[in-house]
């Protein structure tokens, strides 16, 4: 992994279109500003991983069990 040291208000550029700026440093927290084209999804990694896992869990779950279940939800 490439490791770069940056100070507050300094940036790095990835390719032509992505810029990441250090906005704020407070204790063990760093606030990042990210400029990137909108078609590049940006996620907090732990949330992205949970979403991946949920998708995989759905794909391997017994989804056909839902058939006819719609009635249960109707109040």
């Amino acid at each position: 992994m490439l490791a770069l040291t940056r100070k507050k208000d300094e940036s790095i550029i990835i390719g032509e279109k992505i810029e990441i700026t250090i906005l704020e440093i407070q204790g063990d927290k760093v606030k990042l500003g990210i400029n990137a084209p909108k078609n590049i999804p940006i996620h907090r990694k732990e949330i992205y991983i949970q979403i991946q896992e949920e998708n995989k869990a759905s794909a391997t779950s017994s989804i056909k069990q839902l058939k006819g279940l719609g009635k249960i939800l109707k109040k």
Partner: protein, 153 residues
């Protein structure tokens, strides 16, 4: 074209109904073509998103409005614009459902809904900014609360 699927047997695919997910969905980056399969019961809140690229892959979906009152995920307009020209009436929202063996533990992902532009036939999974939306929202929460209440008596 025909497609052999794990859950629905061999399907005749109407190619005009194929929905493109150009970026795939998280965990399945290479599956970019899907179709929606609906129940015969038109009022059912459930349907399925079947991959065209891999007949073994399908997701269960639920209309989130039937399980969560006033569901309104906050998403940047520019992200929605990736689906093509946006008209509210053309956009549909679904939550991916995980169905465990104990069906009362079924959950829906309210944090990351699937959004489809039915006009441009493009879809994506987005992450809502709403802090309160859970990735594992228990669909049968109310039902479970009722059940556990009875056990206590």
């Amino acid at each position: 074209m025909t497609l052999k699927t794990k859950h629905f047997g061999t399907l005749e695919i109407d190619e005009t109904k194929i929905i493109n997910f150009p970026e795939g969905i998280p965990g399945f980056p290479n599956n970019t073509k899907y179709i929606l399969i609906f129940e015969e019961d038109k009022e059912s809140p459930f349907c399925w998103l079947q991959s065209i690229d891999d007949g073994d892959i399908a997701f269960a979906l639920v209309n989130p409005l039937t399980i969560y009152k006033d569901y309104a995920p906050k998403v940047d307009d520019e992200i929605i614009a990736l689906l093509g020209e946006v008209k509210a009436k053309d956009l549909v929202l679904y939550s991916i459902v995980v169905v465990p063996e104990d069906i009362t533990k079924m959950t829906a992902n309210l944090k990351a809904p699937i959004i489809i532009n039915t006009k441009t036939k493009k879809g994506m999974q987005i992450v809502a900014e709403n802090e309160e939306y859970e990735i594992k929202y228990k669909i049968f929460k109310d039902l479970q609360e009722v059940t556990s209440g009875k056990e206590g008596v």
